[in-house]
């Protein structure tokens, strides 16, 4: 097992996480204004896909980093509009595929990718998105071949990181560790989000193996890059709860459940509060999570119906065991969401 800093020749130098989050907000706001100013498109000047595509990626990134389902919905709305308004643009279809995959609409996402391919779009971006969907749907052999091929053709942070995550999800620890380290050493950007995401996925791998110290170590590394990184905060709170340190879990989850609209965090906070004997507040968060699960299950059944059913099945008992909500969109969509460019 490798800990942060072990075997890594040089720590990537990245922009401070607080600055990066502030700038991400500004970037989304600024691009939103630009995209708005280009509307409505004219027949001679159809909606340019360039800036809207960047905005879609940034919304997905912010949705992932801060645990905001609303950002995913905005990205999906814009991608849908773009794909309908820029007929014949493979990039628009690729963007819609990404947002559809975010909400676990995998069959439609694959159809978009096939349509984009028919329009002549090829290359690494399309293959990477297809590999992610195949991986998510359990087509591991095909996904693995795509990941390995991409890493052979272009061994950079994105392809090696995706390969590491592939092996990590299959529990192939040695292979995953090797590629996590390789990917980290090849990082050449200054955005902290991709590295935070990679470290998070490494922590998730050890979390799945029941190695809490290793998992905590990598989740902590992720949070040192980006203190507001919601997926790592949520997982560390899970570890706190498992250790019986409910107050620590509550300390992490209370601000997270307030700022994130992912009901998983509200549900986790309710469980931690209940376990700590704070039943009144636990009930409030439980109610909030229930309402949000219902809403999201209606809007995005593929992504949320299962989690909502699991949550309802437990009822108001406030069972302290964590729900199986680790694959809710903000947390499932991790590595690629943080590194949408250069793929």
């Amino acid at each position: 097992m490798t800990r942060p800093g072990d075997g890594d020749r040089a720590e990537p130098v990245t922009t401070g996480g607080t600055i990066a989050v502030a700038n991400l907000h500004a970037q989304v706001d600024g691009l939103t204004a630009r995209v708005l100013s280009a509307l409505p498109p004219t027949p001679a000047a159809p909606m340019s896909t360039g800036e809207p595509l960047v905005l879609i990626d940034l919304l997905i990134l912010r949705g992932h980093v801060l645990g905001r389902v609303a950002d995913y919905e905005r990205a999906a709305g814009l991608a849908g509009r773009l794909a309908r308004g820029a007929a014949g643009d493979g990039q628009a279809l690729l963007a819609r595929a990404r947002t559809r995959a975010t909400f676990h609409r995998f069959a439609e996402a694959l159809a978009d990718l096939r349509a984009a391919e028919r329009l002549g779009l090829g290359g690494a971006s399309l293959a990477a998105q297809r590999a992610e969907i195949l991986q998510a749907t359990g087509a591991h052999a095909e996904a693995g071949e795509l990941h390995r091929d991409a890493a052979r053709r272009r061994p950079d942070f994105a392809t090696l990181g995706a390969l590491a995550v592939f092996h990590a999800e299959r529990g192939e620890l040695a292979e995953a560790e090797r590629w996590f380290t390789e990917a980290r050493q090849r990082y050449q950007g200054t955005s902290p989000f991709p590295v935070a995401s990679l470290d998070y996925r490494r922590g998730l791998m050890w979390h799945g193996q029941g190695d809490r110290p290793a998992a905590s170590s990598w989740f902590g590394a992720s949070l040192r890059r980006v203190p507001a990184y919601a997926p790592a905060l949520g997982r560390l709170a899970e570890i706190d709860t498992a250790r019986g340190d409910h107050q620590a879990a509550i300390g992490r989850l209370r601000p997270l459940a307030s700022s994130s609209d992912d009901p998983g965090h509200a549900a986790a906070l309710a469980r931690a509060l209940a376990a700590a004997g704070q039943h009144s507040e636990a009930g409030q968060w439980h109610g909030r999570a229930a309402a949000r699960y219902d809403e999201l299950a209606r809007r995005h059944p593929q992504a949320f119906a299962g989690h909502a059913a699991d949550f309802r099945r437990r009822g108001p008992s406030l069972d302290p065991r964590p729900c199986d909500d680790g694959h809710s969109p903000p947390r499932r969509q991790s590595f690629a969401a943080a590194w949408p460019y250069g793929r």
Binding site: A10, E11, V13, T14, T15, G16, T18, I19, A20, A22, N23, H25, A26, Q27, D29, G30, L31, T32, A33, V35, L36, S37, A38, L39, A44, A45, P46, S48, G50, E51, V54, L55, D57, L58, E73, R74, A76, G77, G80, R81, A83, R84, R96, T99, R100, F103, E108, G122, G123, Q188, G189, T190, F193, P194, R299, H300, W339, P340, Y341, G342
Partner: protein, 386 residues
């Protein structure tokens, strides 16, 4: 869009994304030269410089190359730099601390948003959010590129109206900092480079729209129709391009410059027998050339370059003043030749033209154009409408 959004690699860190570089003799302090680097397109007043990036001006003396000797200029190996770095603070109402290191090694510490006169004789620096001086009729440009013919309106709206950027401004007595015999022609490049460890060049920028207008479109490229080459080009040293991807850049520029040349239905830039466009080599050596012996003059952008291409002496300071209409000047050069009739995109100045007093750029717009709602927020998932 100047150089805004010209590098997919830095989309994830907008503080690394160079928007524009300007250089011009100071209009209010004769003998001084002003350098301006803008980053973070569509910034807000809360946007911050990265604490992991060095923002750099690189300056090299140049002379006009002998006719037929190459891309236009002989570049000296001597180099002078201004390096700007920023602290990680600045969030929560504190002004971000910055540091400038001059070519002579002097360190100047300042706070973003404050104007500062350093100990060096007459050196002034500024860094902070400002109104973006870039202006463009984006719809006209888009239609022109889409339709393959000039499609500008006589009068159009500035698509960049009200947008902010983060700006770094230096006003220095450059002549006093140069070695003996250096100048008066200087080549200037702006760069963002990673700080600490092995430095990685994220972007370099000089001539406006080289990457966005001329390098980004892939459909005419006979070699690489699915490769984004701007990241590769951005990582290059513009004073010495590595040989590895040179042919890819040349193929892209040869094809796209020929497209622009044909927008008026005639050929002003015939390709040579190897299929090379006369501007390709010239533009790939991407730096702004300024004559610091000449006084400030607006409308001087590309004038020295055009004079070199025409084989005649230049008459202005060249460089790139803040208010120059670079879209008009670039289209005029690409479409009509060195001295072709002026082509206008219908937007001739920024909504608030830059001033002639330091730091030259206007205060930022506290409320850039409408931020929300961005578009129709989906009340139902997009599959219901698709």
């Amino acid at each position: 869009m100047g150089d805004h959004f010209s590098s997919p690699r830095v989309f994830g860190d907008p503080a690394a994304d160079i928007a524009d570089v300007f250089v011009f003799p100071s209009p209010d302090r004769p003998g001084h030269v002003v350098l301006v680097l803008t980053v973070f397109p569509s910034a807000t007043v809360t946007s911050l410089f990265s604490d992991a990036i060095t923002y750099r001006f690189r300056i090299r003396p140049v002379t006009v190359a002998a006719p037929g000797a190459g891309p236009g200029y002989d570049v000296s190996e001597d180099e002078y730099t201004f390096d700007f770095t920023f602290a990680g603070e600045g969030v929560g109402g504190l002004a971000q601390a910055g540091r400038c290191v001059t070519p002579g090694g002097e360190e100047v510490v300042f706070r973003a948003g404050e104007q500062l006169t350093a100990k060096s004789p007459g050196l002034r620096v500024f860094a902070g959010a400002r109104l973006d001086p870039f202006f463009i009729a984006l719809t006209g440009v888009r239609e022109t590129r889409q339709l393959g013919r000039l499609s500008f309106k006589p009068v159009d709206a500035n698509a960049n109206d009200g947008q902010n950027i983060l700006a770094i401004v230096v006003d220095a007595d450059l002549a006093a900092m140069l070695g003996p015999g250096d100048g008066p022609l200087l080549a200037v490049v702006g760069e963002t480079v990673t700080s600490g460890g092995h430095p990685v060049r994220l972007e370099h920028t000089a001539r406006a729209e080289l990457k966005n207008f001329i390098m980004s479109d892939k459909q005419f490229d006979p070699v690489n129709r699915d490769i984004e080459i701007r990241d590769l080009y951005n990582s290059e040293d513009p004073f010495r391009l590595a040989p590895y991807y040179l042919d890819a850049y040349r193929a892209r520029l040869n094809a796209n410059l020929a497209f622009y040349d044909g927008l008026d239905g005639k050929t002003d830039w015939p390709l040579n027998d190897r299929g090379e466009h006369p501007l390709t080599g010239f533009l790939l050596a991407d730096f702004l050339v300024v004559d610091i012996s000449k006084p400030f003059a607006e409308g001087s952008y590309l004038e020295i370059d055009r004079a070199v291409l025409a084989g005649r002496p230049h008459v202005t300071c060249g460089g790139r003043p803040l208010n120059d209409d670079i879209v008009d000047l670039l289209f005029t050069l690409m479409v009509g030749g060195v001295d072709g009739p002026r082509i206008s995109d219908g937007v001739d100045q920024a909504t608030q033209p830059a001033t002639r007093a330091f730091p030259y750029l206007h205060s930022p717009n506290p409320a850039p154009p409408p931020l929300t709602p961005p578009f129709e927020l989906p009340q139902v998932p997009d599959h219901a409408a698709s």
